[in-house]
């Protein structure tokens, strides 16, 4: 069976333009020729049948479509565009903040590694305090870690409070 008719698109277009009247009467000479063709062409008949069916369906659906108001679509688009603009504007700041945190953490780790002998000396000094008793190096390390954490958390809290303001 033939899969395609060269006139199919022409027939559909002619129907949409009203050249083929719904009652089967041609509206023009060109329409008459096309109508004759359709009468003899099963492919165009099928295409025409679907076009008419879809048009009725489209009209009925359009009438029932739960469409949002144009104003609402416009307003939402505006809002979204503005949010995206803000996000874009903030992106370098967010990136810089993250970079600052990573750099700070790496610097602290590097400093600790570089000054490790001195840190061990301090730990030994703290561990030798009579209050901690003998073999208290792990306890001293824990104390220093706690102190550093407290200082870091205090700094972060202050930063967050400051940035909120």
């Amino acid at each position: 069976m033939k899969m395609h008719c060269e006139k199919e698109e022409e027939v559909i277009r002619a129907r949409a333009e009203g050249l083929l009247a719904d009652n089967g009467e041609p509206a023009s000479e060109g329409g008459a020729a096309l109508r004759e063709h359709v009468a003899a062409c099963p492919i165009c008949q099928e295409a025409l049948f679907l076009a008419e069916l879809f048009e009725r369906d489209q009209r009925a659906l359009g009438a029932q479509a739960p469409l949002p108001e144009a104003d609402l679509v416009w307003w939402k688009a505006q809002l979204r565009a503005r949010r995206e603009a803000v996000r874009r504007a903030e992106a370098p700041v967010v990136f810089a903040e993250k970079a600052a945190w990573v750099t700070g953490a790496l610097s602290a780790a590097g400093l600790a590694a570089w000054q490790w002998p001195a840190i061990r000396g301090w730990l030994a000094l703290i561990a030798s305090a009579p209050i901690l008793g003998p073999h208290s190096e792990p306890l001293a390390a824990l104390f220093v870690a706690g102190l550093v954490s407290t200082l870091v958390l205090a700094g972060v809290s202050l930063y967050l409070i400051w940035s909120e303001k």
Partner: protein, 193 residues
Amino acid sequence: MRAMPISKCETLDGVEKAQEIERVFAMDEASFRAFYAQTARPLWAYLFRASGDPTLAEDLLQETYYRFLRARPDPMSDAHRKNYLYRIATNLLTDHRRRERGKEFTNPPGEAGADRSATIEPRAEGGSERTELESAFKQMKAREREILWLAYAEGYKHEEIAELTGIKAASLRPLLFRARRKLAEILRGGSKA
């Protein structure tokens, strides 16, 4: 998208705001209203028939207009503008389908999509015809529904459909033929192609 400083964004008002929107969007509000009034109903019908889901159709409709506004295409005729809109809508349908990979839009009875599609009740006039079409469409593949609707409801030429859907022009004709046969057979009560 063009970045806008936060401070400027927050302080936009009146004429300045309107000018900024005009620069960011493809058209002003009045033109958009006219364009929306002209295109929204057929576009929604396309999205609904292609997806089978009224809620999804509404979401995709809003997304389509947003992307259209943001795309800021070069000045074009109404017909080209409509084509551009349908291309965005078709791409969104394709993206959605990809996200739902492995699943067709056609849902077996009882699944969410099938239930939601029932919320658009066919009215008395042509009601049974619409119910039949709806039921027939559920048996079609998403791509088939798209090309059928574009060809026979929207009246697009084959080359235009190929452009809108990204299907090769040479492949479109046999695809459309098979889809048309299949739908016609289902509507006639015959077996699926």
